[in-house]
Amino acid sequence: MKLTQMLKSTALVGSLGAAALLGAVAPAAQAAQEYLLTVTRPGHLQVIDMKTNQVERTCEVPGNFGSGSIALAPDGKSAYVLSNGMEDVYGFDIRSCDITFHAAQSTKTLKVKTFQSVAVSPDGKELYTVQNPFGLERDRFTVEQPRLAVFNVADGIGAQPVRTFPVDRRITKIATTVQGEVILGGGDVKAINPKTGEIRMVTPLQSWDKGPLWLPPDAFAMHSQGEQSNEYIMPYVTAEFTDESWNFETAEWWWGMSRVDLETGEAERVEMVPFEFIVFNFISHPHDPNILYGAFNTLSKHDISKKETVAVHEMPHTYYDLNISADGKTIYVGGASSDISIHDSDTLEKIGSIQLSGDMSTSDLRVATIRD
């Protein structure tokens, strides 16, 4: 990285000859480099080179372990980690481990927890969290209004919110669309305009109206991923009953998902495959949105155009989340314990493993792509 920066500097101030030299190395230097990011106990941001599948860098995350929630800057060079009991956000330059940003959300009289909800604006200039505050009175707690907090990334260490807007309770993972909205995953999937605070329904879940024969969905969205398809997935379980007696034994059980296209901000909600086993997280194949992969005690592959589970690979232990290389060929399964399991996306066979220095617990498994 330093060599690249040096060459750039030379080209900027140097002769035509130096510029020609830069041009000669440019194709290699500009190839996209993918890094797999996760957080391990007691507090390390692990930066893994996806070409070699080796840990390239380990960054110290201050504070007690948070949840390992990671938000990516759009240029892939910075990552923002939720730490300190889900209260603080630290920003890292993943090329050097330098801490470039810190927001301590709690004060002496107000405790603020953020349940996974961290995201960065599409221009990389703003950072968003959903804050769940409660007051620390001398003899009691007071429940306060959850809010979207907007930080300027440029404020760096000691950043304070520049705007806040009230939002629903129970919001977990969030994401930003190309248009600049923030997708809020809670009881329903909504979107907020972080300039005005205006909220719109993207796709209902708890308030859906599918008629009396459908069980209200049980949704779970703990981990942020989807960057390889620029999408946000909220998976859910539901059931279709044969009649209004709601016999759970004869009902058809389904995995469904609300999938938001972060390019357009539009969502589809589908019941995609029969509910036969637990999946913690789904991701789409980057080149085929009908192919989904799921992770938990199994790594599974699903073709939602046929509503079929097409392959299942038993895992040696529980993994919470997964991600995929941009070419769609390699799947990384992580979370929970201290190893990332690497698999071929066609066959699901295991092709490698990355041992880490601590448990990932609830941490995200994200792919940062640097293109220069």
Binding site: T40, R41, P42, N64, F65, G66, S67, G68, G85, M86, K113, F115, N132, D139, R170, I171, T172, G186, G187, L205, Q206, P216, P217, D218, A219, F220, A221, M222, V237, F277, I278, F296, N297, H317, T318, Y319, Y320, G335, A336, S337, S338, S357, G358, D359, S361, T362
Partner: protein, 107 residues
């Protein structure tokens, strides 16, 4: 209670809270999100009434339940109450013997 009179604001609040017409309906959460919110099966029995869809082995899931205070009755809540419970054990599957129980009297 009719012979007792509330003397301060807090006692008046308690009286108000126990009045049945003041109690809001409790609504089950269909969407599972956040600390201590879950009543889903998952620690002792899976949603199918068996064991196959529980996290396996327990050590893999231990910190995932502790850090999010997901099952605070079964696992120490490291988010709020016991942040140092596992500070010396980075890998639960290797060093689980070093993890102790929680004893409120400090013994």
């Amino acid at each position: 209670m009719k012979h007792l009179k509330s003397l301060n604001k807090k006692a008046q609040l308690i009286n108000k809270a126990i009045s049945p017409e003041e109690v809001e309906d409790v609504v089950a959460m269909q969407t599972v999100v956040g600390c201590t919110a879950t009543t889903d099966p998952g620690w002792e029995l899976d949603p199918f009434g068996g064991l196959g869809s529980l996290c396996q082995p327990m050590e893999s899931d231990l910190y995932g339940c502790a850090d999010a205070c997901w099952w605070p009755a079964q696992v120490p809540d490291t988010m709020n109450t016991y942040p140092d419970w596992n500070k010396d054990v980075a890998k639960a599957n290797e060093d689980w013997r070093k993890l102790d129980g929680i004893y409120e009297d400090g013994e």
